[in-house]
């Protein structure tokens, strides 16, 4: 028993050390950037600024019960978004459209939630969540079917849909479902459709939903025949077709499922935090999700932890900016650096003198190759 535990610990360390070391290295490099940029800003050279900044970041994320709850609240949509991207990777798809699917999910949840504001809470919440999930799925279905049928690469089509969705939703909220009595275009109050708060000020139902999704997707990928098919298509679409699987169906289905997860992310964010849809609500979950999925190596458990990490970054950043004047955008820089060090794991291995090869993400190869090659049909 003890041996098995030790073996498990060894495996966990082997799987997580590259992401952890990349994160550490990224924060170190970002610190250098922060120090360097004090040279150009008004207040003069401050070599210790990053220390204060990171201390405030940590305090903002974990300094109190409220802060921890806040971190979890920020992490929940990142878990779902990270799963959306990670599930796509498993099938050899790169869904950069999480931002658009997130907005669609949020919008649909807002509209249905507002319509059912006076219905019983169970009905209102369920209907609004389902609406959000379906809206995200519907938007992702388009690039999915286009990729499967015509080979149009999802990297371009999903980005285009992000832009189009933001514009069309701005029109919809202004012209179709604008709630009366507000000075700007927004949807109505969601009333009973708001996610119930389970703990503290705002630990809402969306958090257990996100964690449940992690284990559900893990189960799907590891234990079911469908998961085996998805992974096969991602790792080698030609072999999958040869083995009687249907790449057209699997690519479309996986993309749709991915959008569904992104839609749920939008729905819980709207029903649990924002409360109404208006043009310009943040969809930063979209790009953060890519970093979460890469840092988690597309593995659901890995995504759980990396979502918590980025949740902490996002939740702690405002305090950092208020107390130390280090802009929130430094988080974007850290994020980019983390992925950079993961992609160029050579650097990390050199800095930390690691010898073995990290586990590559299954399906990533296919993402880039499908740029040149079409999906096997």
């Amino acid at each position: 028993m003890r041996q098995r535990l030790a073996a498990l610990r060894g495996a966990a360390w082997r799987a997580s050390r590259l992401p952890l070391l990349s994160t550490a290295l990224a924060m170190a490099v970002a610190a250098v950037i922060v120090v360097a940029s004090t040279l150009f800003a008004g207040n003069g050279f401050q070599p210790l600024l990053p220390v204060f900044a990171y201390l405030n970041l940590f305090a903002g994320a974990f300094g109190s019960g409220t802060a921890i709850v806040n971190t979890l609240v920020v992490a929940a949509p990142l878990m779902l978004g990270g799963l959306a991207v990670g599930l796509g990777f498993k099938a050899g798809l790169f869904n950069i459209g999480v931002a658009g699917q997130f907005l669609c999910g949020a919008f649909a949840a807002a509209v249905v939630g507002a319509a059912l504001a006076d219905a019983p809470a169970f009905v209102a919440v369920t209907a609004a969540l389902v609406a959000g999930a379906l809206a995200g799925a519907a938007l992702a279905f388009i690039p999915g079917i286009l990729k499967a049928r015509t080979g149009a690469h999802e990297v371009v089509t999903t980005i285009m849909l992000n832009n189009a969705a933001a514009l069309l939703l701005a029109w919809a909220v202004g012209d179709l479902v604008r709630a009366p009595g507000f000075s700007f275009a927004r949807t109505g109050e969601i009333g009973n459709a708001a996610l119930p708060v389970l703990l503290g000020r705002n630990l809402h139902l969306g958090i257990p939903i996100a964690v449940a999704a992690i284990f559900l997707i893990r189960w799907l990928l590891e234990r079911t025949t469908l998961g085996f098919e998805i992974r096969s298509v991602g790792a080698n679409p030609h072999a999958a077709r040869y083995a009687g699987m249907r790449p057209v169906y699997l690519v479309t289905l996986t993309m749709t499922l991915s959008g569904l997860l992104a839609g749920v992310a939008g729905a819980i964010q709207l029903l649990g935090v924002i409360g109404f849809y208006a043009s310009g609500i943040s969809a930063s979950v979209g790009f953060d999700s890519i970093a979460v999925a890469l840092l988690g190596r597309s593995d659901p458990i890995g995504i759980l932890f990396s979502a918590l990490l980025f949740g902490a970054f996002r939740a702690g950043a405002p305090l950092m900016q208020i107390n130390t004047d280090v802009p929130i955008e430094v988080i974007d820089i850290i994020q980019a650096l983390i992925i950079l060090f993961l992609a160029a794991d050579l650097i990390v291995k050199r800095v930390f003198r690691l010898r073995d090869r990290g586990h590559a993400i299954e399906g990533l190869d296919t993402v880039t190759r499908s740029w040149g090659d079409q999906v096997a049909r």
């Binding site: 286009l146 189009a164 790009f287």
Partner: protein, 345 residues
């Protein structure tokens, strides 16, 4: 039934309307197409040598920022003209530098090329946002303005038919005007020069190129950097020639539309330029309809379409074109695949 019968008449009206607004439309078409065309040329040069670059968006954004920052910092001491010129140089240098990063990731480290591009996009968004908030926003000052466009005499632009076309290409700033020469020059070089032959060989069959003594990795480096210089120029165009200001995320997906133009243009400079013009024309139509709507039923119809739909149109058309064209557009065979020199042959 009545509606169906109206369709041919509406189409005829649309044709007449397009002819009528042509003089207004054409000059902004090239203006809108310029960043797309430059980005697409970057894509063509990169992908022809076998490197997928989805980081064009981020390179444009970074260069747009550094160009603006240069003008912002220097126009009071140097004067507007030299500051703008220096801004263009800095933008190109920025493109080269980020291109070097992309080349290093894709060619030397052999990282996944789509992920490498994603890194550039995310980092560009973060770094420009960070510096914008740190340096430019608190100062409250403006930039160096915009590079003035050339203006043809009225006797030329009012010439029937060719007048608007001349205006389209020559009533432009220097960057927009350079696009035409870059497109033609690269088209000729790609298919007629030693560099072009080697580029095509390296993108199709790098091992074959290696076995005749061509430095595959070096050529890929050079092409990625050179292409990204053009993407940098596209960034300079956005802040120094088109808008005169910088906003976070101002590229708005242009880098990705440029990629669609590359596929649409079958990986040729002229074809991609055509794609860029098409996207420019669609965007321009949305603008012109707002400024000068047609009369009659057509006008009523076009005005009834909300402006958000016109704004979304280029993105939607990109998707439709990509889905319709991609099957017939064959990318270079080794596109996206890192070259490993010493294999177990």
């Amino acid at each position: 039934m009545d509606g169906l019968l109206a369709i041919p008449r509406l189409l005829a009206d649309l044709g007449a309307y397009l002819l009528l607004v042509m003089p207004d439309l054409l000059p902004i078409v090239l203006a809108l197409a310029t960043p797309l065309a430059l980005g697409a040329l970057c894509g063509v040069i990169n992908e022809r040598s076998g490197v997928v670059n989805i980081g064009i968006e981020g390179i444009m954004l970074t260069a747009a920022f550094t160009a603006y920052l240069t003008g912002f910092a220097l126009h009071e001491t140097l004067g507007s003209g030299p500051a703008l010129a220096l801004g263009i140089v800095v933008a190109i240098a920025t493109g080269c530098a980020v291109g070097l990063l992309h080349a290093w990731l894709c060619v030397s480290v052999r990282a996944d090329q789509v992920i490498a591009g994603t890194i550039i996009n995310i980092a560009a968004f973060g770094v420009t946002g960070y510096l914008n908030r740190l340096v430019i926003t608190p100062s409250g000052r403006g930039g160096a303005g915009v590079i003035p466009a050339l203006s043809l005499p009225e006797s030329v632009t009012t010439l029937p038919l060719i007048g608007p076309i001349l205006a389209m290409f020559f009533e432009q700033g220097p960057i927009a005007m350079s696009v035409l020469f870059l497109v033609i020059g690269l088209q000729v070089l790609l298919f007629r020069s030693r560099w072009g032959l080697r580029t095509r060989a390296v993108g199709e069959h790098p091992r074959a190129a290696d076995t005749v003594g061509i430095d595959v990795l070096g050529l890929r480096y050079r092409n990625v950097v050179a292409g990204c210089a053009l993407a940098g120029l596209a960034g300079a165009y956005l802040t120094l020639e088109s808008t005169g200001s910088f906003q976070n995320g101002m590229t708005g997906g242009r880098g990705f539309i440029a990629l669609a133009a590359v596929i649409f243009g079958r990986y040729t400079p002229i074809g991609s330029f055509g794609g860029a013009l098409l996207f420019g024309a669609i965007t321009a139509l949305g603008i012109v309809v707002n400024v000068r709507p047609p009369d009659g039923d057509l006008g009523a119809l076009m005005k009834s379409i909300p402006s958000f739909w016109y704004a979304a149109l280029p993105y939607l058309v990109t998707i439709v074109i990509l889905a319709g064209v991609v099957g017939r557009s064959r990318p270079p065979a080794a596109d996206g695949i890192p070259y490993v020199k010493e294999g177990r042959a």
